[in-house]
Structure formats: structure tokens, C-alpha cells
Symmetry: D2
Subunit: 355 residues, 4 copies
């Protein structure tokens, strides 16, 4: 089927990067044991242990982020416990109740947070608001790094959150659907941003990073991983031809594609944000710290952009979201910039534009 011009509506619109593809191709030969008893799965797991400098980490592979995050959270709490998250966290807003389903009823306690980031104070507020058996007991905190709108927790912020969690007897989970983008942006080691900062459990996203599908679940405390393999199997997340879920990870991790892909996507976001920073009628809604750019503009201007063939979502605050991936083409970004500039000049401002 013929290809259309590249869009930046989602980093899920991108295909499979060459390194993941090559590893899949390499894995596609001969008879290979099923259900993870194969050499590729071992190699991918070891690559994660190396990358995180944590030889005793337990690594599992799920098909997607919905399952990875939900299974991870379910492993940390019972049905009568609760999970503290930001009101804009993906587990709250876009998983169709998956965390509640996999945990058989755990409630999400949401903190209103302008930038989608939790703070020790927000966590404490939710964790200590109730202490009676008529309300689910808080047991785990989940933070998204980077957030849905592309903001980052600094290492200090993560450490502060994890210290707050420890004080309250809470576990700390990180939704890293775009973990690589965070690493690339902060320029830090994966270990620093996770277990060394007090994160118990990480879901490391592969799909948005350049794979066809797949998310890795990393338990930094092996004791927490007890029987997690059974949990994955029962929940429909154990691949029979597992090598095709794990070989791509080998391709991503061993040669550094994971961080290169992310750095490229981040650079693309900065390229767009920088180029339109001064465009009248278009305002950046959030600091650009990862691979997302959100631009506030009048409905007329957004329509004008659409008329020029651009696709984008506006579900967050009504602004236009642009997400970049490993394959984002600079020329195409420049085309977008040109169209934004043109729309900026051509479409008059209105009083209601910033509303």
C-alpha cells in the first residue's frame, strides 16, 4: 500500500527501526524453543542487566505498555490497595481501566498536577488523607518519565519522590513508555534514574522507541518478581515465539540504537519548538524536554494547519500535539515549520485564541 507523507501525530505512527528489524531477521531461522526458553530472550535479558548495571535484576517482556504497567502495578498491590498517580497519567486516562482490571479493583488516586509530575507533598497528601478500612490503602506510587506532556523529573526529583515513598511505606513504579527519551535528554545512566534513585520497578517502552511492539518490565529487587512469570502467562502476555519479542531488544540495546533513536526524536522536538518559538498565535504549552511539542493556537489556525494536510491530536488542553520518533525527517519538520509560520501570518488573531 502506498505511503503518505510523514505525520507527527504520534510516535506510534513510526515503523520498525533498522536495528530492531535486523535482529528480528537474524532471529528468524531454525528451530528455536518457545515461551522464552531461547537464546535471544536470555541475551535480551542480559542486555538489560548490563545496561542498568544490575546483574540481579529480573526482566520480563510484555506485548505492550497497557499490560506491562498494569501487571507491574498489580504485582505491587492487592485489589483493596490503591495506586497514587498524576491525573494526567496514562494509566488513569488512556488504559480503559486496565490497572483496575489486572489488579481486580485497585483504585487509582489521582493528584491534580499542572505538569503531570508528582511531588513528595502531593503523594503525602493522597497517602495520608484516609487511614480507615473504608477506603483503599495506598501501596504504590507510579510516575511517568517523561510525562505525557513531555516533562522530565530530574534525578533529584526522583530521589525526593522515592524518599517520600519509603517514609510512607509505598513502592515506586516508573512508567517508562518513553524511558529512552528521558535518558537521552537528561544525559544520565539508566541506573541513576531508576534503582539508584529508589525506583523499584520500571516499564521500559520499546514500541515508541522503534520496535514493532514490546515493553520490558524490570524488577530491581528480585524478591518482588516472585512468580511474576505465572502472572504474565495467565494474563495473556507470554509469547510462544518469544524470540520475536526479545530479539528486537537485542538489536536496540546492544548497539545503542535505543539511545540514538531517542536522541534523534528529542532533537526533532527541539527543532520544531525552536523554529516556531516566535510565531505569533502559536504558544508552547509545556517546556520541550523530550520528544513532544504542544502548541496552543486558535481553532482557526489549527484548522488551517489541518487544511494543509497535517494530522495531530488536541486531547490535551486543546493544543496541537506533535510527537517525534526515530524516523522523523528533518525536512518534513521544516515543512511543518513553514506551514505553521504561514498560518501564523495568514490567520488573524482573535480574542478567544488563547482561551
Amino acid at each position: 500500500m502506498k505511503s503518505e507523507p510523514q505525520q507527527f501525530a504520534s510516535d506510534n505512527y513510526a515503523g520498525i527501526c533498522p536495528e530492531a528489524w535486523a535482529a528480528t531477521e537474524a532471529a528468524n531461522g531454525g528451530s528455536v524453543p518457545a515461551y522464552g526458553e531461547d537464546a535471544w530472550t536470555k541475551r535480551a535479558s542480559d542486555a538489560f542487566r548490563d545496561l542498568f548495571d544490575k546483574p540481579d535484576a529480573e526482566v520480563f517482556f510484555a506485548f505492550n505498555g497497557t499490560a506491562a504497567n498494569s501487571l507491574a502495578l498489580a504485582s505491587l498491590c492487592q485489589s483493596y490497595h490503591s495506586v497514587i498517580c498524576s491525573a494526567s497519567a496514562h494509566v488513569e486516562t488512556d488504559e480503559c481501566g486496565a490497572p483496575e482490571f489486572f489488579s481486580n479493583g485497585s483504585k487509582l488516586l489521582v493528584a491534580a498536577s499542572p505538569d503531570g509530575k508528582l511531588t513528595p507533598a502531593l503523594i503525602r497528601g493522597l497517602a495520608t488523607g484516609r487511614s480507615d478500612i473504608h477506603f483503599p490503602k495506598p501501596r504504590v506510587v507510579t510516575i511517568t518519565q517523561p510525562t505525557e506532556t513531555g516533562q522530565l523529573y530530574t534525578l533529584d526529583e526522583i530521589r525526593a519522590v522515592s524518599a517520600g515513598c519509603r517514609d510512607l511505606g509505598l513502592r515506586l513504579h516508573m512508567d517508562g513508555a518513553r524511558f529512552a527519551n528521558a535518558c537521552a535528554s537528561l544525559g544520565c545512566e539508566p541506573a541513576e534514574m531508576t534503582w539508584k534513585a529508589g525506583v523499584d520497578l520500571l516499564c521500559f517502552g520499546g514500541t515508541k522507541n522503534g520496535m514493532a511492539a514490546g515493553e520490558a518490565i524490570l524488577f530491581f529487587d528480585p524478591a518482588l518478581a516472585e512468580d511474576f512469570g505465572y502472572r504474565c502467562k495467565q494474563a495473556g502476555q507470554l509469547a510462544s515465539k518469544m524470540r520475536f519479542l526479545t530479539a528486537p531488544w537485542v538489536g536496540m540495546l546492544e548497539g545503542g540504537a535505543w539511545i540514538r533513536n531517542a536522541a534523534h526524536a528529542n532533537a526533532c522536538a527541539r527543532r520544531l519548538a525552536g523554529a516556531v518559538a516566535e510565531c505569533p498565535g502559536f504558544t508552547a504549552m509545556f517546556p520541550v524536554e523530550a520528544n513532544a511539542v504542544f502548541l496552543k493556537a486558535s481553532p482557526e489556525r489549527l484548522d488551517a494547519l489541518r487544511d494543509r494536510g497535517w494530522r495531530f491530536y488536541t486531547f490535551i488542553g486543546g493544543g496541537a500535539r506533535f510527537m517525534f520518533a526515530w524516523d522523523s525527517e528533518p525536512e518534513r519538520i521544516d515543512a511543518l515549520v513553514r506551514d505553521i509560520r504561514a498560518v501564523s501570518s495568514a490567520v488573524p488573531d482573535r480574542l478567544s485564541a488563547s482561551g
Copy 2:
């Protein structure tokens, strides 16, 4: 990583067939909408509707058979209902309680059946054994075509089962993890074996048929599919880059690879079964009607086979199971035949051999 000689321990040991691969490659270009809003997914769905001659069928795609079957069954019953299946059905023996998990507690009522096939009488026995609220109410029957041991329901048998189900107010689900092998063996149209014979819901397996991963769920009665997309999403079975789960189906279905692959695998099974039919000390445990061969032999003979480098499972009745796939090599089968013959002659019989 270097490849080892081909084994027939499982049809999950095989890789991705050329047609599925080519379609994946073709899908790997450009920006493509996520979550199934893409042309590949539409095309795969249409290919299923065409193949089953059922333009109003609703088609969904899950990552694997555990999820596909469990979600399908859960859509047909509530937690206080029960599912009638054979004692050797995969949903009972090898899904780690997934049907119970996805349905939040539906009980499987198992019929002891020597060949793994249900009959109207067996179904009636289980469905009418209890009619009080202290025991889960039967609501759905699941049959596996072909069975775990490679037997087939004839069309008449399926029609009889479905008629029995209708009499009892039960829905009929077909676990078609190896559906293609059944079609190839019976030489019938998919429609004849399913909706025309009274099947409400089919899980059509892609993994064992030559894909990397993936199972299609076909609702022949669209009314039963209400909100099923939500169910899939919540249960972690909605792929973001959906095209990579659906394009391979296009490759499999449009050019007929699905039936060629299955026919080849079935022929391989007959090749082995035919060649060792007269080998003293090796006895076929089941009629070879699909892609499986089960050989009963003494532990000494099985060990001798293993010593010659062959891998196989013995979890069904202690016999050696050999499963063939789209890529099974005739030469390698012949090598297995030679080794079985050699072991047959070299290892003496024992009284306990057939025990």
C-alpha cells in the same frame, strides 16, 4: 546466533514464513495511524470476511492464543457461569488459569474424553448435571479443532455439537489455534466448519500457522461483539502499532499461504507417521489427522532417541510428540525416521514398554 538442526518438538519452534515476513516488510514504511485505524488492519479484517464468506463478521486481533480464547470466552459468560470443555483442552491444561482470570472466575467444567473431542452427550451430561445456584451455570462450550492430540471433528460432528448447544441454550466457541490445519485436512471451506455449522465465535491461530505472533477473533454474530474492542484494550491486547500484528495476516490470507502452510505441515505428519507405522516398539497413540504425531515407546527407546539429538515433549500420556510446521524439512523428517527405525531395532522390547 547460530542455528541448530531442525526439531519437531513444537510448531511454535518455527519462524516466520516468507509471506508473513514480506507483508510485515511492506507495512514498515511511512506514518501509519495507530491502534487499528490503519489500512492494513482494515485489509486484514476484510480478508477474513472474504475467507469466511461472511461480510458482517466482526474481526479482532490479539497477541496470542491465551488472550484470544480467554477474551472470547469471557465475552460469552459472566463470572458465575461455566465453560464446558474437554479435559485435555488447552484452556484447561496450559493457560495457567487465564480463562478464569479474564472472566473473573468462570469455572471450566471438563469432560473426560479419550480423544479430546466433545460430543452432544458429553455436553448434555455436564450441562444438566446441576441446575441450582450453588454451582456455576453452563453458558458456553469450547471445542478445539483440531484437538491437542491432532484429531478432527468432522463437519457432521460440529453440527451435532452446535445443535446440542442450541438445545441447551449454550454458545459455541472454537479454539482454532491450528484452524488452518483442520481446513487443510478436511478440505472444506472455513465457513462450512464454523458459522455454517453453528459456531458462534472462532479464534483463528496465526502463530502456529507461520506468523511471529497473533490470533484473530471472529464473531460470526456481530451482536456478540458489542464493546469487544474495549474488552481487548482493557486486557492489554490492543497493539499500538497494530499494522505489525495485522499486515502478516494479509500476507497469510490473500495469497493462500495460510492453507499451503497447513497442508505442508499435515503432509509432514503423515510422512512421519506412515514411515514408522511398522516400527516395532513405536505405536501411534492417535490417528494422524492434522500436524501432530504421538508415538508411544518405552522409556529406553525414547532416551535412545534423545541421545541421537532429538527433542520432543512427553506430557501427553508419556508418548513422544512431534509437531510439524510450515518450515518442516522432509530431509529432516527422514532423518528422524531413520533414527526411530534404528532405535526400534537396537533397543529391546520390555514387558512394561507399552505401560
Copy 3:
């Protein structure tokens, strides 16, 4: 154990009223079939059908409100559906995630509502905010009559809510933990306030109305009750000696104790509210329309009341909640009034008192 002076901290602090007691005593003789196959259960069910002028209503009995409401809601939605309720609804704030547990994950969508009442506009806002499969699909609305803070929906308001529900394809459930108080206050027939106004399902509370335990679940559309008996049994809500859960209902309903008890409790609330209406430093937080009185006062004044031996909760807005029951003693209310007046005079106002 010796009795202490009566408190008005909760209507759950009251005992069993004479009519419920007498019926229990009457039921305590001879051999009686278990699990609801007894004459008392039939008689109680019929009494409900009579009371609601609905001969085809289906009636079930649960041990408590947590279960009754959760089972009722679960019967109206699947795990990937959502329930619209007020932010102060008991199912959201005080059931420890029971609705999510019994439904295996249905999400509660909460509307901020100052008085705890839903309106068609609030419902429409929540029901139409999202229509994609990434968020649970709204399927049922639950209203509490009276609300947690003692406000009532008028009949017109209920009709408007139900009309709004029908437009949106939503079912309407009424949490009637204090349903009798609503009837007594509005002076209307139970039928008018429920099925004639478009309510599909009612949980009618017995515990707060004078029973030891028990809640009735009334399906006004019998089709919705399909297999609900199995649901109750599986969920641990089928009493073996059912007569002891149902005979008290006979005692409550047949002679009118249910409405007398409620009228008394409502009158007690008005008695308190009226007597302290002019007390400086004590302000009614909500209109007194049922059996609850909430009084805002400074922490010093509340402490002073506690020092005089009064127990009350302050979990709603920091005010003192007083709840009245069938057994509330006018003399004791007058004693409370005297103490409030005394505290009103003795404890000085502070600037922060009303904060």
C-alpha cells in the same frame, strides 16, 4: 454489657427496632428450608412487590449495602464500562473499592457536585467527554437518595436524570441506603420515586432503617435480573438461614414500621436543626431534608462539645455530623441542643472559625 448514653454519631449505632425483632423471633421456630426456599423470603419479596406496586419486580437480599450496591452496579456493566456518580457518593468514598472489585475493574467517573446530586448536565458531561476505546465506556448512573449529606432529589429531578440517562443509553441505579427517609420526607409513594420515575434498579437499605443487617435489591425490569441469584451466591451474599435476613423485612414492611422509623428519624433531625438554627458559631452546612444534620463550628467549639461527652464525625467538610435513627430519643436531642447552646455562648468566635 452496660449501655452508655445515646449518641448520634451514626444511624448505624442504633439497634434493632421492635418490629424487626418480633419478626425475627417469629421466624425462629421449627425447620425451615435454607437458601431462600422458605415462606418468609417469599413473603418479604411479595411485601416489596406490593409496596412498590410492581408485581413483576425481582427482589434479592444482600447482607449489606457495600455488596448490594456493588452487585447491582456490576450487573449493569462489564469491567471495561464505567459508572457515573457524584464525587461524594458512598460507592466512591467509603466502599474500599468494592464497586471496582465486584465488577472486576469498572471505573467510577465522578462529578464534582456541591450537594452530592447529579444533574442531566453533569451526567452528559461525563458521559460524552470520551468516546474512544482508551477510556471505559459509561453504562450506568448511580444516584444516592437521599445523598450522603441528607439532600433529596425531587421527583422531577429524578425524572430529569432518568430522561437524560435514556438519551445517552445509560441505566439508572439508585443507592437507597436511607430510601425510607427519602419517602418519608417527600411524602411520595416508593413507586413514584423509582420505576415510575425511570429508575432501573434500587438498593433499599434496611440496616439504617432499624434492622440488624440487610439490604434489598429491586429490579424493576425483570430481564435485568437474569442469573442475579448466581451472582449473589458466588459473591458470598446468599444466606443459608435466609429467613433471618428476610423475616425482619416482613416485620418492617407489612405494618409500616419502615416509614414510621424514617419519619421519626427525619423529625429528630429537624428538631435539632430547628433548635440550634440561631446559635452563634454553629451553622447548618446543608439543608436538612432527611435524617442528617451537619453543623459547621470552630474546632474549639467542636472540642467543647466532645468534652461534654458527645461523639460525632467530621469527615465531611470538617463539620459535626449528627445522624438520627428510629430510636433517637427526643430528650437526648434536647440535651444535645442544650450543650450546643452552652458551647455557643461560652466559646468565643474566632476569625478562623468558619474556615
Copy 4:
């Protein structure tokens, strides 16, 4: 409603014994805190701790056995674990899938056991049959004392079972729906039969022992009880007017009614069994060790008994089941004996009688 002649169809047909009644009456006065924060609940809990000579036991109260056993088992395993029980265990045969529901999918692994008793060998067989992630991992064993058919585990047998469990890393739960009958029959201390013999968790039945409703859940290892109060609340098993669920326990335990009631019921069973032991055409199906008598007889003889006004169930092996309770009247038993003898003489034997 008028009382009919006493029947022995079930020990659930009996009413409330005087001691439970008196305690309920005593509890029915004054304002009493809700949700278990009352003196009666503390006193009942302490009475259990005294009775079991285990000051640190954690005690919870559920409405019925379905919930008590299911919640207890759910607290010991996750959804991907399994529970080993006898094929005739009540949790398997008569709870409508409640254990699967409360645990969100734990599978029951049933051992065929002629007398309903598990042995270390049976447990080991089920516990070690599978050790792969494709089948739920055994985590807990449940034994019923006495069994559904009235047999008892000796103390040595319990100790052997618990030793076997410990070897296999399994927890041991005892379903004591008729625990008192076991104590009365074995003449042993509750502690000997439970925690001193290695039982981790006991559900102690009150309903069949003479109460209106109620089951106690005793954790002998307090660590296992972590957050169990939340579990009960979420699952609809926390009574608001808790005193009415717990005061009866005070009445039962403090004065010894619990054991007297059970001893009486056991004696009644022996009275019947002894009196009909020599009746031609009636054969005891099981040793009479508790309060149950099962009599095998021809359909004609059973019909003849029914014609004489007797009600009984035949769901176990087609024999007539008679269950005795605290209120069983010796005269009425003697009337049953006379009728059995009459039927024994009057109805001729048939060849098929014992089939």
C-alpha cells in the same frame, strides 16, 4: 407462620439457639459504634483467642461460609496460584465459583478421594504434577473438618497433612463449617486440631452451630492477616452493626454452647445410625463421625420415606442425607427410625437397589 414437623434435611434448617439469641438480645440496647469498633466484637474476638489458647490470633467475622472460605483462600494465593482440595469439598462443589471469584481466578485442583479426605500423598501428587508456568502454581491446601460426608481427620492425619504442606511450601487452610462437631467428636481442644497441628487459617462456622448467620476467620499467624480487614470491607463482608454478628459468638463461646450444641447434634446422628444399622435395605454410606448420616436405599424405599413426610437430599451418591443440629428432637429422630424400619419391611428389595 405456622411451624411444620421438624426435618433433618440440613443443619441449616435449624433456628437460632437460646444462647445466641440471648446475646443478640443483650446487644440490642443503646448506641453502639459501628463496623466492629464495639465492645461485643472485642469480646467475641477475645473469646476465640481464649478458646484457641492463642492470644495473638487475628480474628475476623464474615456473614457466611462462602465468603469466609473464599476470602481466606484468596488471602493465601494470587490469581495464578492454585488451591488443592478434595473433589467433594464444598468450595469446589457448592460455592458457585466463589473461590475463583474472590481470588480473581485461582484454580482449584481436586483430588479424587473416596471419603473426601486429603492425604499427604494426594497433595503431593497434585502439587508436583506440574511445575511449569503454563499451569497455576499450587500455594494452599484446604481440608474440610469434618468432611461433607461427616468424616473426621484424626489429629495425626492433620499433622501429617500439614507436614506434607510445609515440605511443599504450601499453606494449610481448614474449612470448619462444622468445626464444633469435629471438636465434640474427637474430644480434643480447638488448639490441638488447628495451629498446634500446623493449620494456618481456620474458618469456624457459626450458622450450622446454632447462630442466625456468621463465620469466624482465625489467622494463627498474625502476619498472614495483614490488611485482611480491607479485604473483608471491599468484598462486602464488613457489617455496619457488627455487634449483631459478633454478640452471638459471645453467647456461643463463653458458656460452652458451641460444644454442647455440636455434641448434641453428633449424638443425634449416632442415635439414628445406631437404630437403623440392622434395617434391611438401608445401608450406611459413611462412618458416622459427626452430625451426618447417609443412608443408601432403593429409589422405592426413598420414595416411601418421602411419602411419609420426610425431606432429605440425595445429591451425594443418591443416598438419603440426614443432618442434625442443636435443636434436633430425639422424639422426632425416633419417628424417623420407625418410618425407616417400616419402609424397610414393607418395600421389597430389588436387584438394582444397591446400584
